[in-house]
């Protein structure tokens, strides 16, 4: 996309006519490197064509979390256009323009993950972009009518001069706006004047998702390009030993068999024939040393390594001294490997032509995907054109770029464009799984309060796996994330990290990331301590949150709405949990019943959220509703296991998802707040599992410390080791 932004004068924005006569407008951002110390770099864009169509260019990726709608609200609010007037366009790959504006330029990444859409500076920078654009349009109208800009007002894409009754649309003004230079700090609206921000706005991407018209990566050029079904070495580090392709080649419509050192692919006229050809292919693998790796090896290694102290991530008070007295509890919590299983299996369409490539994909990291492709081709990323499509689920899986790398490797062998497809089985077996975690914990009670607290965490490090480098200073912050900033007031506290990579299992970011594990452990132990102290779990928490009104606020709200101390029928219990992560506070009360067979039914989940300033309240509600289901799915069934170096699960029959009849009612209550906007895609996931496990403990007296939930234990047929 050509931009015509003059970056020569600091603090000023020069607008030039864009292709087609429309107004193309960038907005001020942080300084762009040393040379640019007196300049500013444009970021996301607004484009207004003479017909009045307002195109908003979206820096982040839509994957169902409502980012496009929220970002549009921010831009449209200050630009003063109605949501119905805007058209959205996905930004091309560009870290500098579209990376989170809060980060310094060299660390800016165009990445959608970690509940970042409203947290990384976009809340203000997108509004500023809208306000600046509006100011220019107002100036253009003022010059046209030769009136004082202060006498003009705007509404729904029209500038009005009330004294004379004149009006003009933004589209008509756009050719005139070209030559105007204005400061980049046009005033923002006061919160009380908001028409869109904080209001429940219908999602812009929804209509196309109800009639089959939306295009996901998997839909690109369907039927027009050949399909390559891919099969990768089932063991990390494994190689192809031999391929018998006679049967596959005999299938009419199978065009080509691609054999690389660690994968094979069958190229055929359509997806079905490619899958069929792949099944007919006889592949023998050389597994290499990882072919003997089993789940028990991974867990044993983790247990051994966490039996010794780790690297200190936080150390307050004098924990050793504090452990010398008081009523002590020692526990360990473990969480399993998990697959992402986005509904849209991985796929990537590629056309390699010599030293250039064109890519059509749904990714959470546009520039990362571009770089991955460029690396395979050994070219500059500029030689790779990437078009990003709607994501049929991301959940962190599409923060990785292995699917792009392997698709480009296959496409290098194919003449013309090819769609590289993962079957559901391939998607599951080659997921970059959520790490298996172990939390070793100890705490003491003194006079009914927590006096000492040790939290030692270990699990495969995603940054280490992705970078191939050891963690900086031996400490992986993403693994201990959440544990180091618990708001509970504890005088002696230590958080430790122990490095322990699971060998030949690729670990990846998974919705809720580190806090899913660390805060499950924290909220479980707090509950255990409350029970040990003979205190109500809500009161016990509140007693340790005197200085954290936001934490106490969500707890009280959730408890109040759930009828925390009200009567319960049957063998049921209420569990409560609170998390502070992703810039938000979130509490949940889970009401669950357990039958004699150990079956658990969640009757109800009540969630209170303080996510700071709210952009789209219905978006929060929807993300929390979905997050609860996402968490309960893993709590009940999520368990990826490894045998002979291979992931054993493959499809939804052996990697279960929650279904509609199992999904509980979820009530979401939002705390009005003026704090900075927090993330919302993940808190609902993180808070739900501990709330459920605490409810089970309340109902049965059984404390489950390993996920997923083992019904045999709840049925009394197995020891709770």
């Amino acid at each position: 996309m050509a931009t015509s932004i003059d970056t020569s004068r600091r603090g000023f924005l020069k607008v030039s006519a864009a292709a087609g006569g429309g107004l193309l407008l960038g907005f001020e951002l942080l300084q762009d490197g040393a040379e640019a110390a007196s300049a500013f770099a444009p970021n996301a864009f607004i484009r207004i064509d003479p017909k009045g169509i307002v195109t908003l260019i979206m820096p982040q990726q839509e994957m169902g979390q409502g980012t496009h709608t929220g970002h549009s609200q921010l831009l449209a609010e200050e630009l003063d256009v109605a949501m119905s007037q805007v058209v959205l366009e996905q930004a091309p790959p560009n870290d500098m323009l579209y990376g989170g504006p809060k980060a310094p330029p060299e660390r800016r990444r165009q990445s959608t993950g970690g509940s970042s859409s409203f947290r990384n500076g976009f809340y203000i920078s997108l509004r500023q972009a809208g306000a600046n654009a509006r100011a220019i349009l107002v100036t253009a109208a003022a010059r046209l009518w030769k009136v004082d800009p202060a006498t003009l007002r705007t509404s729904d894409g029209v500038v009005y001069h009330d004294p004379s009754g004149r009006q003009i649309g933004y589209g008509e003004l756009s050719p005139r706006a070209g030559a105007i230079t204005l400061p980049t700090d046009a005033p923002l609206k006061a919160d009380k004047d908001f028409k869109l921000i904080g209001k429940p706005v219908h999602r812009l991407d929804v209509p196309a998702k109800t009639n089959g018209s939306v295009t996901y990566g998997i839909d690109v050029m369907a039927g027009k390009v050949p399909v390559a079904a891919v099969l990768q070495a089932p063991v990390v580090g494994g190689k192809v030993a031999a391929v018998d392709d006679a049967a596959a080649r005999a299938i009419p419509g199978v065009k080509q068999i691609v054999v690389l050192d660690d994968l094979v692919a069958v190229v055929a006229d359509n997806t079905w024939l490619a899958f069929k050809g792949l099944k007919a292919l006889g592949v023998t693998w050389n597994d290499g040393p990882n072919g003997r790796l089993g789940q028990a090896d991974i867990v044993r290694d983790l247990r051994e390594k966490t039996s010794k102290p780790g690297v200190s991530a936080k150390n307050e008070g004098d924990i050793d001294k504090a452990f010398g007295s008081g009523d002590r509890i020692d526990v360990a919590y473990e969480m399993p490997f998990l697959a992402h299983s986005p509904m849209e299996p991985l796929n990537c369409t590629v056309h390699v032509q010599g030293k250039t490539a064109e890519i059509w994909v749904g990714t959470q990291v546009q520039t990362g995907a571009q770089k991955a492709a460029a690396k395979v081709l050994d070219v500059d990323p500029k030689a790779v054109t990437l078009t990003n499509f709607m994501l049929g689920g991301g959940f962190g899986r599409r923060l990785d770029t292995d699917m792009v790398t392997n698709a480009v490797r296959v496409a290098q062998q194919v003449s013309g464009p090819v769609k590289v497809m993962w079957s559901r089985e391939e998607d599951t077996r080659h997921d970059t799984v959520r790490p298996y975690y172990r939390n070793v914990m100890a705490a003491t009670l003194k006079d009914g309060r927590i006096d000492a607290w040790l939290h030692r965490i270990s699990g495969g490090s995603v940054p280490v796996r992705m970078s191939g480098k050891p963690p900086k200073d031996g400490l992986d912050g993403s693994t201990i994330d959440g544990a180091d900033e618990i708001p509970y007031e504890i005088p002696n506290l230590r958080v430790e990290y122990v490095q322990c990579e699971p060998g030949a299992v690729n670990v990846g970011w998974w919705r809720g990331v580190g806090p899913n594990n660390s805060l499950f452990a924290v909220e479980s132990l707090i509950d255990e301590l409350a029970r040990k102290a003979g205190k109500d779990p809500l009161e016990f928490r509140l007693a340790h949150l005197q200085k954290s009104p936001r934490a106490a606020g969500v707890l009280r709200l959730a408890a109040d709405k759930a009828g925390w101390s009200g009567p319960l029928e049957g063998k049921a219990g209420r569990g409560i949990a609170m998390i502070n992560a992703f810039g938000s506070f979130c509490a949940a009360v889970c009401e669950a019943e357990v039958n004699a067979d150990g079956d658990v039914r969640v009757r109800r989940m009540v969630v209170a959220v303080d996510a700071g300033k709210v952009v789209n309240p219905d978006g929060i509600t929807s993300q929390v509703e979905g997050g609860v289901v996402f968490a309960l799915t893993s709590a009940f069934w999520g368990n990826i296991t490894v045998a002979n170096g291979r992931i054993q699960q493959s499809n939804f029959h052996d990697y279960r998802m929650m279904r509609i009849h199992e999904a509980p009612p979820v009530e979401v209550h939002i705390v009005p707040s003026n704090e900075d906007p927090g993330g919302i895609g993940e808190p609902g996931v993180t808070v739900s599992t501990p709330a459920l496990v605490n409810a089970i403990a309340a109902a049965t007296g059984i404390r489950l410390r390993t996920m997923p939930i083992d019904r045999e234990i709840l049925a009394g047929r197995k020891d709770n080791a």
Partner: protein
């Protein structure tokens, strides 16, 4: 097979292997990509279409078994009264998140609504349990079905 498929009221000449599932004929031969591939083994419902008015998983339905029975897909279901009501309710309640499962959800829901104009919760459970939504939009799916049926605001 070589013959004619009736899809959304339009006849399409198709030449495909007998065992090729309808899903891939729709997507890769007719270019109708609204019907989705999620599992290929009748576990997720993303590929649901109507065959002679009944919801079927097109990923396991060989095209040779379709014969002259009419096929309705997400691209055409809006022309049926139940389909139009479902789509409207889906939009009003902002049901979809990533949206990938929603073609199948709407096809299952509109088949339910066509046969059971005022479905109970149990009816909804039975008709919709075969459709997975990884984003967890089940609450809104249930509410949208009731809204389409006029049994809930």
């Amino acid at each position: 097979m070589k013959g004619t498929l009736q899809v959304n009221g339009v006849a399409h000449d198709v030449e495909a292997p007998d065992d090729m599932p309808l899903l891939w004929v729709l997507r890769d031969m007719l270019g109708m990509t609204g019907t989705k591939y999620g599992c290929g083994i009748a576990q997720c419902g993303a590929c649901t279409v109507h065959l002679d008015g009944k919801p079927v998983r097109s990923c396991l339905l060989p095209v040779s078994a379709v014969g002259d029975k009419p096929v309705v897909t997400i691209e055409g279901v809006g022309t049926t009264p139940a389909g139009a009501k479902a789509q409207k309710a889906w939009i009003e309640l902002d049901v979809p998140q990533c949206g990938y499962c929603q073609s199948g959800q709407i096809m299952s829901a509109s088949a339910l609504l066509a046969n059971t104009p005022a479905p109970t919760d149990a009816d909804i459970d039975a008709a919709m349990a075969g459709n997975i939504c990884r984003c967890g939009t089940y609450l809104r799916i249930r509410a949208a079905i009731k809204r389409a049926a006029g049994t809930q605001a």
